[in-house]
């Protein structure tokens, strides 16, 4: 039986108090807390074999390179990728999307081509494509959604044409919690010859992913939403695509040979990893993946589903509360608004009760526009959250309403 209280001990931060009350951390969709295993792995690297990688013959550099490449292998296995060189380290999901837009995009798109995204994308999966459209004359199209936050797949069928070059789609929506039918989208996109980039930033901590089975061309995520460090993320790309793509940034490590006349680029993945990478971050991310695997992603998902279900039932009983995002089978996110109370005020009062949630547009302004809201309040759950904390959330919401509506 999964017991979140046991796992909580791995997260020292959860013991702290905020405004004199025990912290209830429900802003996991923004970033998760880090377990000891991750903190220890980073510290161990700095204390025992801190060195630059791929360039020294000395022992420390060898050990650092092995740990760094070992992390890459852990990520490969976690994503179910066929080849380890298909895993490229980036600063995060955002940089990974920009990498694809600026390299693959600029060499594969021209005026009249189309990029298809969905109505619930994070700005990170909108703006890089808009920039690419600006540079190439391609056009951005959007798969609409309904009032529940479910994509209108029959419309997607019409929007996918032989002009579609790329589909950018989030697996889990960070604003609504919707889990999108990416397998179906990938199949249909491939049928018209389009490539598919899946934004897994919000998904990897909740949903098991196998990129080979999915067949997606690109997959991105950030370490910090998977119990790992900030500043490290991943681009997965199919080997043949990556091999044919031009490099992203120039510098050390991404070259084989440099003369002033000509430079020969290194092979993948190094071709896309110019400069000294976030070595400790990659090692920390490897440790985070080991941690998640030891807890078991299916246990985590089942536990979070239970929390979300309880929270949803509680929410439905609160007068004046409206849940934003009511798709079936949501993952771990409860977005809501309270009648007559701005989400920012909700956030402040909850914080005063020790409850950390997010209030704002969640970097998904088009989603807010769709619901004609300036912002929502969002509680998002992780493996260490408990039913008691759900209770604390709703006690705090009661407090908000008392303060505002009395």
């Amino acid at each position: 039986m999964f017991d979140p209280h046991l796992w909580r001990r791995q997260f020292p931060i959860l013991e702290r108090k905020v405004h004199g009350k025990p912290l209830v951390y429900l802003d996991n969709a923004a970033t998760t807390q880090k377990p000891l295993a991750v903190l220890d792995a980073e510290r161990y690297y700095f204390e025992h074999f801190n060195a630059n990688i791929h360039r020294g013959v000395h022992a420390l550099s060898q050990e650092a390179s092995e740990a760094f490449e070992g992390a890459r292998e852990k990520i490969r296995a976690f994503l179910g990728a066929a080849h380890v060189e298909e895993i490229i380290f980036t600063r995060g999901a955002t940089e990974a999307i920009n990498l694809v837009a600026q390299t693959w995009g600029r060499t594969h798109l021209e005026a009249g081509d189309e990029i298809l995204i969905s109505a619930m994308e994070h700005h990170a999966n909108i703006v890089p494509w808009q920039m690419l459209c600006e540079a190439t004359g391609a056009r951005l199209k959007v798969i609409p959604m309904d009032e529940r936050g479910v994509l209108l797949m029959d419309q997607a069928d019409h929007l996918l044409t032989e002009r579609t070059r790329l589909v950018g789609i989030t697996l889990v929506s960070n604003a609504l919690g919707t889990v999108n039918p990416v397998a179906e989208i990938i199949r249909k996109a491939h049928a018209v010859g389009a490539r598919v980039l899946v934004d897994g930033a919000q998904a990897v901590a909740h949903v098991a992913v196998n990129v080979a089975a999915l067949g997606c061309d690109f997959f991105v995520f950030s370490g910090h939403k998977l119990y790992g460090p900030t500043g490290i993320g991943v681009l997965y790309g199919k080997k043949d695509l990556l091999t044919a793509m031009p490099p992203y940034q120039g510098g050390g490590d991404m070259i084989l040979q440099v003369t002033f006349e000509k430079t020969t680029y290194n092979q993948i993945p190094y071709k896309f990893e110019a400069g000294t990478p976030h070595i400790s971050g990659a090692i920390g991310l490897g440790a985070a993946i080991d941690f998640v695997r030891s807890v078991g992603l299916e246990n985590i998902a089942a536990h979070e589903d239970r929390l979300l279900q309880e929270a949803t039932e509680r929410a439905q009983r609160v007068k004046g509360l409206r849940i934003i995002g009511t798709a079936p089978g949501k993952a771990s996110i409860l977005s809501f608004v309270l009648e007559g109370i701005h989400p920012h005020d909700i956030g402040t009062i909850l914080d005063n009760e020790g409850v950390a949630i997010r209030s704002g547009h969640h970097c998904a302004m088009p989603v807010m526009d769709f619901f004609s809201l300036p912002a929502t309040a969002r509680a998002s759950f992780a493996l260490y959250n408990t039913l008691e904390e759900v209770e604390r959330l709703f006690q705090a919401i009661e407090r908000v309403q008392k303060l505002f509506l009395s």
Binding site: H344, D345, I349, P374
Partner: protein, 146 residues
Amino acid sequence: MSDLRDLYQEVIFDHNRHPRNFGPLPGANRHADGFNALCGDKLSLNLKVEDGIIREARFEGSGCAISTASASLMTEALKGRREAEVAELFEGFHRMVKGEPYTVEMGKLAVLAGVSEFPARVKCATLAWHTLNAALHQADQPVSTE
């Protein structure tokens, strides 16, 4: 521990529920839009300025309780003031909500002093004032609190 009641005083709830000077202002000769990217607050401010004196100030938009009350209180405080006084008042207000010493007489605006205990909310309280600044200087771009 910061007390919520310092932030959410009755006067603030009152101005949030019943904002003063809310709505369009026909014949306005100064205008600016303000935007707080953090919480999505939007504010549109219209002024009627004659002979260097602010005769009317009205606002529209949607925002949190702090930004709405602040805009409402500001429009009340502006009426009859000389344009030249505004910079000093804004400076004083800004210092007050950041918890720094100030010398300007704040009048009713002083109910917003509690914001200083909540640093994350300073931007909410100053949005209307940044917008005012833009309106008086006739900046074309919408202002943001970033």
